[in-house]
């Protein structure tokens, strides 16, 4: 990849932006080392506080602009959880809101030039997806006991098909965290890498670099859409999975 072109005139390193670096010095990265991951997650926390806490501090009946945005986020996710996961799912509203705000803000903040996109790392998205998977599984067994397993036994299918469907359902259930995390991480990584590749062209093409710069602008717009949509998709899938755990009937 990037290393193969090293030394030639066209030096494109699209993956360098994903490198985890210590904030202070060059030492080894332990689990506790403050890194650019720490920095950008911290910025995401600050952005969340600014968006949802500072903007609502006046508790106005007639909301200011900031408070309107906060209420819009609240209403959007609240309605999503209620519609998709059901009324019972509202207990998990703070949890879903946490996931959404983190993913959404990390995606958007990652689009700032020179920033670090924490959600472009599969390690991060995998933890998020595994948390959802474990939550759904534990809550499902806690609330329904062994009845939770009945979601794998498709009672509406002919009896002879049910064991086969059970195997398929079981596999799809365990693939969930993988697809859930790779979808988000892959989307984020791909977009940023594409922008970086175009940026590399722009640096090497002289006057003709107008073309890659225009392409960067276009891809950047697309990436803004992808950043929002992927946060939304991640959240709605979380709600869909939660419905299996808290909802009454399956499908």
């Amino acid at each position: 990849m990037a290393t193969e072109e090293h030394g030639s005139g066209l030096a494109i390193h699209p993956m360098d932006q994903f490198i985890v670096k210590p904030l202070f010095g060059d030492g080894p990265i332990h689990w506790y080392t403050p890194t650019n991951v720490t920095l950008w997650m911290g910025i995401a926390i600050l952005a969340m506080i600014a968006l949802l806490v500072l903007s609502t501090r006046r508790r106005a009946i007639v909301p200011s602009r900031g408070q309107s945005v906060a209420e819009m986020f609240y209403g959007f996710i609240h309605k999503l959880v209620e519609d998709v996961a059901g009324h019972e799912g509202l207990k998990f509203f703070p949890y879903v809101m946490t996931l959404f705000m983190f993913v959404f803000l990390s995606n958007i903040l990652g689009l700032i030039p020179m920033s670090f996109t924490t959600t472009s790392h599969i390690a991060v998205t995998a933890v998020l997806a595994l948390m959802v998977f474990l939550t759904v599984t534990l809550v499902g067994f806690y609330r329904k006991g062994l009845g939770f397993l009945s979601m794998f036994w498709v009672s509406s299918a002919p009896l002879i098909l049910r064991p086969i469907l059970a195997v398929i359902e079981l596999i799809s259930y365990f693939v969930r965290p993988l697809s859930h995390s790779v979808r988000l991480g892959g989307n984020m990584m791909a977009g940023h890498a594409v922008i970086k590749v175009f940026a590399g062209f722009a640096g090497a093409m002289g006057v003709a670099s107008v073309l890659p710069i225009a392409a960067i602008a276009a891809v950047y717009g697309l990436e803004l859409l992808v950043a929002s949509v992927q946060a939304y998709v991640f959240t709605i899938l979380t709600c869909v999975y939660l419905r299996d755990a808290v909802g009454d009937a399956h499908h």
Binding site: M15, P28, I49, R59, A70
Partner: protein, 183 residues
């Protein structure tokens, strides 16, 4: 980044000697504990800020607004009822006033009629009295005139008889004239 051996060793297999990425940094196992640790810290912080501060506050604001709107609508409905009641009261008052005014007008009319009748009666009586008096006067005058005519007739007759050379006494003339006047 420099090319010191210690850095290279610290960076492991994920970063080359120029600080560039080797392969996909996403697959670098050395960084995963760091990312997972800080992710969990971040999620816990976000969760507590959201569930302790932001979400209850926004929920309270939304509930407040809903309550305010409901109250305002109820108040508006109440005011509307009041307006309807006020209009009804106004119309009632207007109708009462009309009735009252009609009564007053009728009473005034009746009084005036009474006065008028009394005045008319009095005037009639006065007129009748005056007419009777005038009648008497006229009768007196007529009688006077008749007597005067008779006297004049007698005098003229006596004079004429005298002038014509007749010799008649006054008594005869008078009798003749009287007979003539009656005829």
């Amino acid at each position: 980044m420099s090319t010191e051996p210690i850095v290279e060793e610290a960076a492991g297999l994920c970063v080359n000697e120029h600080g560039g990425a080797i392969g996909m940094p996403q697959l670098c196992g050395d960084w995963i504990p760091n990312q997972v640790f800080w992710l969990l810290v971040t999620l816990v912080v976000i969760y507590f800020v959201l569930s302790k501060i932001a979400l209850p506050r926004i929920a309270a604001v939304l509930a407040d607004r809903k309550g305010t709107i409901t109250n305002d609508l109820a108040a508006a409905e109440e005011l509307k009822q009041k307006a309807v009641a006020a209009e009804k009261a106004y119309n009632d008052a207007l109708a009462n006033a009309r009735t009252e005014a009609g009564k007053i007008v009728a009473a005034a009319k009746a009084e005036i009629q009474k006065d008028l009748d009394a005045a008319t009666t009095k005037a009639d009586a006065e007129i009748a009295a005056k007419a009777a008096e005038s009648e008497k006067t006229i009768a007196g005058i007529r009688d006077g005139a008749a007597a005067a005519v008779a006297e004049v007739a007698r005098d003229v007759a006596a004079e004429l008889v005298g002038a014509l050379g007749g010799g008649a006494d006054a008594k005869t003339v008078t009798a003749a004239v009287t007979a003539r006047l009656k005829g």
